[in-house]
């Protein structure tokens, strides 16, 4: 491929907006919806996912010439599952409260299409350094959206952000925001807003 290499900076930034896993490519939606009832959960999930993404990108990109094509998916899955277990046990060992509130959604990172998708689309074809940058960008983009969703939902659903009460006694929290419907509705609005911004940028 003689395609011009994009710059390091662009490699990272693309994951933040243009190829944002949640808003642009709609990958990894399950954890996005499931754990964003508070900002802290969003942050923790974002970090855990980024960790798995980065370490498996690193691994897979270094083994890319070694893994035969036919067994690549199986190999990726094993590698990803390994790092997910590492992350899960780490949370359980050091942050038991967060581990409990994320529940089975940490192990579900194994099947997060975002991670497998990046391996398939990027790490298996690119140098280690590039894969790392891609992983950083994607992980960051994913985490930021999760945190933003968590903030909105926590603010409206509990009147606080990161556990700090922001809206006073006068505000009666909209409980629905921390329940499943609130997750879907908020994400729907996020995607629409992203569409709107893209449209503005395209016409600007």
């Amino acid at each position: 491929m003689a395609k011009k290499q994009i710059s390091i900076w662009q490699e990272i930034v693309k994951g933040l907006w243009r190829e944002n896993p949640v808003l642009a490519t709609l990958l990894g939606l399950c954890p996005t919806l499931a754990v964003t009832n508070t900002a802290v959960n969003g942050l923790a999930m974002g970090l855990a996912t980024s960790f798995v993404l980065l370490s498996s990108s690193l691994f897979i990109s270094s083994l890319r010439n070694f893994i035969p094509h036919q067994v690549r998916i199986a190999s990726y899955i094993v590698i990803i599952a390994t790092f997910v277990t590492v992350a899960d046990r780490f949370l359980a060992g050091f942050f038991p409260a967060i581990s409990q509130s994320l529940g089975p959604y940490v192990p579900l990172i194994v099947v997060n299409c975002l991670i497998l998708g990046r391996q398939e689309a990027f790490s298996s074809k690119n140098k280690i350094s590039r894969s790392l940058l891609d992983g950083i960008g994607m992980g960051l983009g994913f985490s930021l959206v999760l945190i933003a969703l968590g903030m909105v939902r926590e603010l409206l659903g509990s009147g606080s952000i990161f556990g700090i009460t922001l809206l006073g006694e006068w505000f009666e929290p909209w409980m629905v925001m921390i329940l499943p419907p609130g997750a879907f509705l908020t994400l729907g609005f996020f995607i629409a807003i992203a569409n709107w911004i893209n449209d503005r940028r395209a016409t600007a």
């Binding site: 190999s75 390994t82 659903g157």
Partner: protein, 202 residues
């Protein structure tokens, strides 16, 4: 696919290697984290036991008729018995630690260990943020209650008897579920504790 038959040996090899590597990493990680996880789990249990039982300086675990009890001692005297109660709430299982006097007649404390009730409604059985001064008012109501005859739930009124507790507004079902589970399990605990043959664990 067929032209790669020569590679099938390599395929198996690579996959095996990767799996082995994975196993190795995980084994190492397990040995590092497992103690911590176990520690947290036990710690949580211990904290719960110490909270639901009267002041004590040692505990021991006994299994009677297959049911686990935590006995609390102040010096040599048995001051309380704790056991877990488990059953269906509004959305899913509620797991509680209940402390009682040794005769299993008076409640000394209640802790909700696990519940998956609706946030903002049923979760108030464990933590009610709308009562800022006392978010755990629901479980505290149980201290000193006499579940004989059965515990009962009353709505929209202040309890007047020693077997009554007040329901959480908007979460009557969860409140009733807690009481229903407790009534059942106190009954079976009495059976087990009074008649059971003892197996002592450390």
């Amino acid at each position: 696919m067929t032209q790669h038959t020569s590679g099938s040996g390599k395929m198996v090899l690579v996959l095996t290697l990767i799996t082995a590597l994975s196993g190795a990493i995980l084994a190492a990680w397990d040995s590092y984290t497992a103690p911590k996880i176990t520690y947290h789990r036990e710690q949580a249990l211990l904290v719960a036991i110490s909270q639901v039982l009267p002041a004590h300086d040692s505990t021991r675990t006994v299994v009677l008729n297959g049911q686990t009890f935590y006995e609390a001692f102040a010096g040599d005297s048995l001051v309380g018995v704790g056991f877990q109660a488990l059953g269906n709430g509004f959305q899913g299982q509620i797991r509680m630690m209940l402390g009682m006097t040794p005769d299993l007649e008076t409640i000394t404390g209640l802790e909700i260990l696990e519940q998956v009730e609706t946030p903002g409604l049923g979760t108030k059985i464990a933590h009610d943020p709308s009562q800022r001064s006392d978010p755990e008012w629901f479980t505290k109501q149980f201290n000193g209650l006499l579940p004989s005859p059965e515990l009962t739930v009353i709505k929209n009124a202040t309890p007047t008897h020693s077997n009554e507790i007040q329901a959480i507004t908007g979460a009557t079902i969860s409140s009733q579920a807690v009481v229903r589970i407790l009534n059942q399990q106190i009954e079976s605990a009495r059976q087990a504790f009074r008649t059971g043959s003892e197996v002592v664990h450390g």
